[in-house]
């Protein structure tokens, strides 16, 4: 599904140069559930941003669905992104001024899906995420777990091939965290590829593979099929 080859990302300010990613080469196949772990500042989020095409690498190659996308411009990246990738963030990132329904509907608007089709799709995911009854509420009126379910709903409403989850359980207590993990597993079982950054070894084990990053480098890759719960 995606493959990186010696991916490098360097952040420059006027005086300091920071290497966030240092020759990262990974390959992730369709249908995988990959967890990425590592200490703060090791480059997890940077890697996610590049995989999600929110940012371009400073060097190296990135093949997504067979295309070399690392040199794509913003418009091209936006096009691939909105058709193929859904995002879930630690801080939910819902738009406060839009209702739950409208937040979930947003990706479909940018994909120019017809109104009736939109309605059907949004209702379906809201039902799957069991928050249909809160569809007319605003994000602040929901608990953190509920908000994250909305974020997951938004990520999958356009039926993406890949879901990128950046510490999706980071702001949640354990029961809500478990809930979100079940959702992700459920999606993965339906065929969606999931890449998830986490600090929690327990949640990392939900994945079929764990990639450990340290100082911008991949240090280990563990396949842990046998440990799946």
């Amino acid at each position: 599904m995606l493959r990186t080859n010696n991916l490098v990302k360097i952040y420059r300010t006027e005086e300091v140069e920071t290497t966030a990613l240092d020759n990262v080469s990974i390959e992730i196949n369709e249908g995988e559930f990959v967890s990425i772990m590592g200490p703060s500042g090791c480059g997890k989020s940077t890697l996610m941003n590049i995989l999600g095409m929110l940012d371009n690498p400073s060097g190296g190659e990135y093949h997504f669905l067979g295309k070399e996308v690392s040199k794509f411009n913003e418009r091209q990246r936006a096009q691939i992104r909105k058709e193929n990738i859904g995002f879930v963030f630690q801080s939910f990132n819902l738009i406060d001024e839009l209702t739950i329904y409208e937040n979930v509907e947003l990706p479909l608007l940018y994909l120019k899906v017809s109104p009736s089709e939109r309605k059907r799709k949004v209702q379906t995911v809201l039902e799957i995420m069991e928050i249909m009854h809160r569809r007319n509420h605003f994000p602040q009126q929901l608990s953190g777990g509920q908000q994250q379910r909305v974020a997951v709903a938004r990520a999958l409403v356009a039926n993406p091939k890949l879901i990128l989850a950046d510490e999706p359980t980071g702001n949640l207590d354990s029961s809500h965290g478990d809930e979100v993990m079940k959702m992700l597993t459920f999606l993965n079982e339906g065929g969606t590829t999931v890449i998830m950054v986490t600090h929690s070894p327990t949640y990392a084990e939900y994945g079929n593979r764990v990639i450990h990053l340290f100082d911008g480098k991949v240090v280990t890759e563990n396949f842990q099929e046998s440990f799946r719960v």
């Binding site: 989020s45 929110l54 940012d55 995002f87 990132n93 001024e97 839009l98 940018y110």
Partner: protein, 792 residues
């Protein structure tokens, strides 16, 4: 998608309702002020467009070639109109107009009105200027003597509920005028807007100077000559043809004719740019106010857009293109601007009556009809919306989503773009300061200038002086007898009669002098006065003597003013003769203002003439300051004895007089005061927004400084440092504007700006800035560091 944008827009509007209202209203008020000003300027620049052929209608004026200058004479002789039509084929129609100023008209004893403005004309006037007749026939309405054509408004005043046709109106000269036509009311923006038109053949009957219609007097300054050119004629070629036109009638002619278009006469009838400059000032003011309001709008929008960065990030993550975001923010800005323009369109209607009152005009606006004004509104809305939105739109749509989705404000502080944004905002606010201080300086100059004009030494004593005028029958009585009667009252110090008094009437002509060549002429104002004129008005005699009853030769004597003496360049003027050697100079008076303190005092001479109580005379009566009302009553009773049938007008000197400042400059003053306060408020609003934003960003810095021991006054200084620096830069930049306004303001006498005036302006700006910044600065200084540093 549009629905989605609209929802976000409306919900944001609602969420930051205070910000939204201040932003929209700030912009709306700026727009309103600008529109009102532009309406006024448009009104002034489009005078006389009521008449159908106004674009090819001209007034014939004379360039008077004098020894030292060229002056403009807007009036011409009686025969000019018909001669021009006969001899110049390009002229389609022509008409002569004579004016009646200050006349009392009546239909009965009860219905007597003072009419300020009437005219003599014949039927040709209706061929040149298209009056719309409700009754009567423009072909013959003014054919016979003593016929009068009146406006509908005039008819309703004199003949309420009656048909005025054929009815009689009596003039104060006891002439009976028969109504032969009623026209539709004329609009107010006309330079020729008589309340009534009397047939020119009537003038023949009443004229005091019987030679007015001789061809040799074709250049005398008495009438307006109006012409309409044929539609294919060129003004330039007619101008060439008529330049020397009067030469064939007048020997040694020094008055050259030219056409002045009807469109221009309102602004530059005397070929001077005073009014035009005033219009430039005012338009500039209006546009600057709008720019100030726009800058606020831009500042507040950019500041506010920071709160939207999370939304932008999310939209990008879920697939929004940069263009879609750009359009979203431009759209919002346009919508803001649209709301503002709607409010402004309403505010214009609401404030127009007050504005009309202030500027003494009759501006009307009708959105259903004034398509052009609607276009202005739409244009302003689009330009403002786009300009205000384009910067935030470009910036925000270009944000990297990976930077904003973490919800990390500090990104903006580290980022170079962030500091260039704050630089832009500071520049804009500094510019606002600069403009505000400049406007204040201009306002202070204009206020002081107008006050200076209003309180300027007139050269005579205008206090405790009564001015009397008589409208009606001539009398055989003697002025000296009347004067003696008046002087029996101990409260009356002196009295005189003259053809004109300062600011009451003003006659000018061109004269030669002892030793001048055949083409040498000087323009001079003249007056004929009784013995006690100089004493009554307390004019200062600086050389020679006053007229005296002791000298029988004084009826051939004259007294000139200093300016006349300077023009004549005589060391010893006494005994020299002027004006065809008619008058011998016996004295020189100090210059005094005759009709406008705005203009340089013209050369002037007075001769001893009227011992007769002429109806055209002006009586000046010097009284004591005590018991003024009683004295006035006494004066009235004495005049009643001498003029039993006439209308007697007695007013303290200065009532209703235009000292040369009350016209357009009084309006400029009022507008400058109002709008500079507005500018100050707009700048304050902008500063308030900017400081609110800056203090939010610096709350952490303040917290850290507090933890490490900064006290409140140090923090105030820290927070105010920026805007004080901005104030100093802007004040320095604004200093020349005061001088610029001073040198561009027309007029012979100008107020000199003082250091204190500059200090007042800067002080006002400083106080406004302090007041605007106090709230947020205090909030930041008093904030609890435990709270502000918690999230670190």
């Amino acid at each position: 998608m549009f629905k989605n944008y609209l929802k976000i827009f409306v919900r944001n509007l609602w969420k930051h309702v205070g910000y939204s209202i201040s932003n929209i209203f700030g912009l709306a008020i700026g727009m309103t002020a600008c529109f009102l000003i532009l309406l006024f300027v448009h009104y002034e620049l489009n005078y006389n467009d009521y008449y159908k052929n106004y674009q090819r209608t001209y007034k014939v004026q004379q360039k008077v070639l004098l020894r030292d200058k060229v002056s403009i004479d807007g009036q011409t002789g009686y025969q000019l109109a018909s001669e021009l039509k006969n001899k110049i084929p390009e002229i389609e129609n022509s008409a002569t107009v004579g004016f009646v100023y200050s006349e009392y008209l009546s239909t009965s004893d009860k219905l007597t009105f003072s009419e300020k403005y009437g005219a003599y004309a014949d039927n040709n006037i209706f061929k040149v200027l298209t009056f719309e007749f409700l009754q009567g026939n423009p072909e013959n309405a003014l054919s016979s003597p003593f016929s009068v054509v009146i406006s509908d408004e005039f008819a309703k005043k004199y003949f309420p509920g009656e048909n005025p046709m054929g009815k009689i109106i009596k003039s104060s000269k006891n002439k009976s005028l028969r109504v032969t036509g009623v026209t539709k009311n004329l609009p107010y923006n006309l330079d020729f807007r008589p309340n009534y038109l009397v047939s020119m053949s009537t003038y023949k009957e009443v004229a005091e100077w019987k030679y007015y219609d001789l061809l040799e007097n074709i250049g005398s300054s008495m009438f307006w000559t109006l012409v309409t050119l044929k539609s294919n004629a060129s003004m330039q070629s007619v101008n060439e043809k008529i330049f020397n036109f009067s030469d064939r009638y007048v020997t040694n002619n020094y008055k050259k004719l030219y056409l002045k278009s009807l469109v221009d006469i309102h602004i530059t009838s005397d070929e001077r740019n005073d009014t035009k400059i005033a219009m430039y000032y005012i338009s500039g003011f209006g546009i600057i106010i709008l720019i100030l309001a726009c800058i606020n709008f831009i500042n507040l929008s950019t500041a506010n857009s920071f709160l939207r960065k999370k939304e932008i990030g999310i939209r990008k993550v879920v697939g929004a293109s940069r263009f879609a975001l750009f359009m979203q923010f431009i759209g919002e800005s346009l919508f803001f601007s649209f709301l503002a323009i709607l409010i402004a369109a309403i505010l214009v209607i609401v404030f127009l009556p007050t504005f009309n009152n202030v500027i003494a005009r009759h501006i009307e606006i009708n959105y259903a009809r004034d398509f052009k004004f609607i276009l202005y509104l739409i244009g302003t809305f689009l330009v403002t919306g786009f300009l205000a939105g384009v910067y935030p739109a470009i910036f925000l749509s270009g944000l990297q989503p990976s930077h904003v989705i973490k919800g990390n404000l500090s990104f903006f502080k580290k980022n170079r773009t962030g500091s260039s944004r704050s630089f832009l905002r500071k520049t804009l606010v500094t510019f606002q300061f600069y403009v505000s201080i400049s406007l204040l300086l201009a306002a202070i100059f204009v206020i002081k200038q107008v006050n200076y004009m209003n309180t300027k030494d007139l050269g005579f004593d205008d206090k405790n002086l009564l001015i009397c005028r008589i409208f009606g029958e001539k009398t055989e009585a003697h002025f000296e007898t009347l004067r003696n009667e008046l002087l029996t009252n101990p409260n009356i110090i002196d009295a005189s009669i003259s053809n004109n008094a300062p600011f009451y009437g003003n006659w000018g002509k061109e004269i030669n002098w002892e030793g001048s060549g055949p083409m040498d002429k000087m323009s001079i104002n003249y007056n004929s006065v009784s013995y006690d004129f100089i004493n009554t008005y307390k004019i200062q005699l600086i050389n020679g003597r006053n007229f005296s009853r002791q000298y029988s030769t004084d009826n051939k004597a004259c007294i000139i003013n200093e300016t006349a003496l300077k023009t004549l360049k005589w060391n010893d003027p006494l005994g020299k003769k002027i004006d065809n050697n008619q008058y011998t100079i016996i004295g020189v008076v100090k210059d005094f203002h005759q009709y406008s303190v705005h203009e340089i005092i013209p050369a002037y001479y007075m001769i001893l003439n009227s011992d007769d109580l002429k109806e055209s005379g002006v009586f000046g009566i010097r009284i004591k300051p005590n018991d003024k009302d009683k004295t006035k009553e006494y004066v009235k009773s004495q005049f009643r004895k001498f003029f039993p049938e006439s209308i007697i007008e007695i007013v303290p000197f200065g009532n209703e007089i235009d000292f040369g400042t009350k016209g357009v400059w009084e309006i400029v003053k009022k507008l400058f005061i109002g709008f500079s306060i507005l500018a100050l408020l707009i700048a304050a609003n902008g500063l308030f927004g900017m400081i609110s934003f800056a203090s939010q960003r610096r709350v952490k810095e303040v917290g850290i400084r507090k933890v490490f021991g900064a006290n409140s006054s140090q923090l105030y200084t820290l927070m105010s440092k920026d805007f004080i620096l901005m104030l100093i830069i802007s004040a320095a930049a604004a200093l020349p504007s005061g001088y610029l306004v001073q040198i561009t303001t027309p007029g012979a006498y100008k107020y000199q700006m003082q250091i204190s005036d500059y200090l007042i302006c800067i002080g006002l700006m400083f106080l406004t800035a302090m007041a605007a910044s106090l709230y947020h600065t205090t909030k930041a200084v008093l904030s609890n560091p435990v709270e502000t540093l918690r999230y670190e």
